[in-house]
């Protein structure tokens, strides 16, 4: 099929799809007046029975905790998939070339960049840990804080620190952390069985609203997700960085 014919067919189908979708959204409730009963019920349950101030995190880790387990495992599998796709066989020569090229790049980084990186990394890590731990109280939680922490690690790389390309150990620290985070979430979810109630039932003591230990296992799950997201995103980014480095930045060819 020629490009022209494909374009005509594509635009026609898009127009038809657009008409159907506009007809569909015209049947939704008026903007600003949601009809669902859960919209009113969920915040009240989360606040009164679970003592969690941030209703979104409470819904995420408690009322709909099973879905979050699934989403977290999607993230885990995606990190796994990116690793499998990108981690090819590496010749020893290619690894040494990449190491030398990296050291040249790191030595040539300007002082201003290094100083800025050093100044920002500390507050960024602190912010990430704050956002993860205070998920039950303020906007935040494991997902956001995890990506902030991964960004802090990326900043360390960008500001001139050499990244270890060689993987002499078969399992590196980042992978272990990723698996530990995912396993921690699953174990806390199964903890309900140990205590004799249903799976994913909130079994830890529920403190007072507004204190750091409120909400039963919501902070625990938030920390598990934070660890897992940090490690997963760092793993993906480091695989991409290794891939980019392993061909010597265009200076030498593969052996």
């Amino acid at each position: 099929m020629s490009v022209r014919a494909r374009l005509v067919l594509g635009l026609g189908s898009l127009a038809a799809l657009g008409a159907l979708l506009v007809w569909a959204v015209a049947g939704l409730p008026d903007f600003g007046h949601p009809r669902g009963p859960y919209a009113v019920l969920a915040p009240q349950i989360v606040l009164n029975e679970r003592h969690v101030a941030n209703a979104v995190t409470g819904v995420n880790f408690d009322l709909r905790g099973f879905d979050t387990l699934g989403e977290e495992l999607i993230l885990f599998v995606a990190a796994l998939g990116a690793t499998v796709l990108l981690r090819a066989q590496r010749a020893e020569r290619a690894v040494e070339d990449a190491q030398e090229a990296e050291e040249r790049r790191a030595a040539g980084t300007t002082d201003a960049l290094r100083a800025l990186g050093a100044a920002i990394v500390g507050p960024m890590v602190l912010l990430g840990i704050y956002v993860v731990v205070h998920g039950a109280l303020t906007p935040g939680g494991g997902f956001q804080g995890g990506v902030i922490l991964a960004g802090a690690l990326l900043l360390v790389y960008t500001a001139g620190q050499v990244v270890a390309v060689q993987r002499v150990r078969p399992v590196s620290l980042v992978e272990v952390t990723d698996a530990a985070g995912a396993a921690a979430y699953t174990l806390v979810a199964l903890a309900g069985l140990v205590f004799g109630v249903a799976v994913m039932d909130n079994v830890l003591p529920i403190g007072t609203t507004g204190s750091l230990l409120s909400g039963g296992f919501v902070p625990v799950l938030s920390i598990a997700v934070g660890v897992e997201v940090t490690a997963g995103v760092t793993l993906i980014l480091s695989e991409f960085v290794d891939q980019m480095l392993l061909h010597g930045g265009g200076r030498r060819e593969e052996g």
Binding site: V25, A82, T209
Partner: protein, 112 residues
Amino acid sequence: MLAYLVAVWLLLIGLYGVITSRHLVHLVLCLGVMQASTYVLLLAIGWRIDAQAPIYVDIPPRARVVDPVVQALTLTDVVVEATVVAVLLALSVQAHKRFGTCDPDALGALRG
């Protein structure tokens, strides 16, 4: 109503970008635009007139809030779909290694 129409528009324009793309990385970013349309639709469904964010730190317990359930769905969605974009980018890098080009029209079938 405008919010729903913007969500439909983002879906259609993203799909148009996917159909007429000439580079795999461009295709992946247009897919990101399509993902954004679902976020806009979900949040538009949950919004309530004269309601505040569902954080009870400094508002009274009986205040009107927007729907937190759709926000919870969108929140995990945003982070997870970024990692799916990562897998797709890894696939396009591998496709370039295999076929020597990043043009979807020029990619051949998988050879055994």
